[in-house]
């Protein structure tokens, strides 16, 4: 085990435990780890933006390949930064006008194609199917087609705002709600799965680092963290009383 991996294991374990202290309550150890996290991720983003945008996308093509048209997007980018100069802030509007304009233009036909037409195409299916022995209605596929059509229509109807949900509309809207709730339930189940996976991932690391190869990092740091937390809360209690 190289010393940097060992140190890494200790630091990672310590930070993980600091964050987990939030489960007890908000405390300085958690705040420390949290602010460190924000700082490091900002630092990371700065470094990556420099390396990718400045070096690979601007400097290299411009200087090495002589692609000077790139000055144009650079100018737009700089205009964006005029936001910080109150007197010139209006110039940033040109940058936003360009970016938002292109973005909106690109989005319209693509959204219609992928999310409206494609989704309609797949919903528009015959409710019966023709097989070798004639017409069949009661297959699972046909049943699913009907369920999907019902679900899509009633949920769409639920999000109608310019008609009152009364009479048959009430029934449709209620059915829509039933579908919505089942979908939310399913999403709930999936989210539970995701969060538990994250926890399992962290615990797997902690277990790995509790090994003798890492000088029992997890166990030692767990003891230290608990001691620090206990000291802090007794002091906090004293301060209150």
């Amino acid at each position: 085990m190289s010393w940097d991996m060992l140190l890494g294991a200790w630091v990672a374990t310590g930070l993980t435990l600091f964050i987990l202290t939030f489960l007890y309550r908000d405390n300085p150890l958690f705040k420390l780890a949290e602010h460190l996290y924000v700082g490091i991720s900002v630092g990371y983003t700065i470094v990556k933006s420099y390396d990718t945008v400045l070096v690979r996308l601007i400097y290299e093509p411009m200087v090495k390949q002589g692609d000077w048209t790139l000055l144009f997007p650079v100018a737009i980018g700089l205009l964006m930064l005029t936001r910080y100069v109150p007197k010139l802030a209006w110039l940033s509007r040109y940058a936003f006008a360009f970016v938002v304009g292109v973005g909106s233009g690109l989005a319209i036909p693509r959204v219609v194609s992928s999310y409206i037409l494609k989704q309609m195409e797949d919903t528009l299916r015959p409710l019966v199917s023709m097989t070798a022995d004639g017409l069949s209605i009661l297959t699972m596929a046909n049943f699913n087609t009907i369920v999907i059509l019902l679900g899509v229509s009633t949920v769409l109807f639920y999000f109608f705002f310019s008609v009152e949900h009364s009479g048959p509309g009430r029934v449709a809207a209620r059915t829509g709600i039933v579908f919505l709730m089942i979908a939310f339930g399913a999403a709930f189940g999936y989210t539970v799965m995701a969060r538990m996976s994250l926890l399992i991932g962290r615990l797997t690391d902690l277990i790995e680092y509790s090994d003798a190869r890492y000088d029992y990092a997890t166990l030692v740091l767990l003891a230290i963290t608990i001691a620090a937390l206990a000291a802090w809360s007794s002091r906090a209690r004293e301060a209150e009383s």
């Binding site: 958690f30 019966v128 705002f161 709930f188």
Partner: protein, 404 residues
Amino acid sequence: MLRPLLMLTIVGLLSTQAFAQDLTPPADVNVIDGPNDDGGRLIATWAPSPYDRPDVRYRVLLRTADGEKTVAEFPANTKYVKGAKLSWWTRPAPPTFHYFEIKSGKAGNIEPGKPYTVTIAAVMGEQSVAAPPMTATPSPDWFNWNELNNLVLVLLFGGIVFVSIQTARRKEIFLRRIAGLDAVDEAIGRATELGKPILYLTGAGGMSDPSTLAASVILGRVAKRVASYETDLLVPHRDPIVMSVCQEITKQSYLEAGKPDAFKEDSNFFITDDQFSYTAAVDGIMLRRKPAANFFMGSYYAEALLLTETGASTGAIQIAGTDSDHQLPFFVTTCDYTLIGEELYAASAYLSREPVQVGTLRGQDLGKAFILVVLGAGTLLATVGVIIGAEWPAYILDFFKDLK
């Protein structure tokens, strides 16, 4: 033992012979510049023939400067116009015809403006018969007709939205009452009875986020009610710009309620823009001040559950409104009332009565109505088509397919 085998061989030979006689050159071959493209495609079509069977194959040959090369070879009962993703208005040949696209590949590059000669041959075993070669020149096009339906839908929907906005400017458009708004009034009433403050969150988004905009409109309404009851209002923020906008809105509401003196500058306050620090701070407020009602409007991420779970534990009435669909299950289960997705926008339009908002909502409703009608009628047509085995419903249904 030997005899049957011999017989079989003879029969086999005979039948091959018989089929070989059938093998005629592919008929009605047509090679054209690929329509609706950037000029990098040729299209070959030819008539179906009696020998369209798996054991017969079609071979497509392309002649370039380096000589003639095989582009592809495939079973004769595959690659029809019907199977290609084309709409009826862009079909180069009848649906029963064969259809093959020649693109740049190992056999050579297809470049716009250069003539190419293509030969289609039918192959069985060693035998092959070719149709007369055809020459075509690919050229780039200025419109992709396969996307015609897409463009028409965009124009149609755009028109509907603009007309609706214009209509909304001229006269009142009916919007149904959003049930969640009654719950808002009820919650404020209860807070007043208990003499406890009200907590209102505008979510994680910036001012350009439509859900934040909606949240600030609803805040205006809540503030007005609160002002007339003289209840305390707490609005912690994650974004300084949103905070200053909300401050203005709150002030205005107090003015409209006739209680400008009751307005407190610090009811809107900035905490931090960091997700978890913000959450911890708001949880702290909930536990210390024990608000009687918590409002969560706008967009939320993973912090949603941390907020609503703490709020539920203090016994507050909780009302949420968000378009963050991944967090909706948590709001629905932990809050007393939830404005789901577009309901948030509708509530804001309902309250603000601003023509652009109301008109857009109306336009979207009409768009949805159109889609509903198409789904209903289209399914019916498709079903009828299958039952009577007719082709004509496809002429209408093709218009609602995403084709390239």
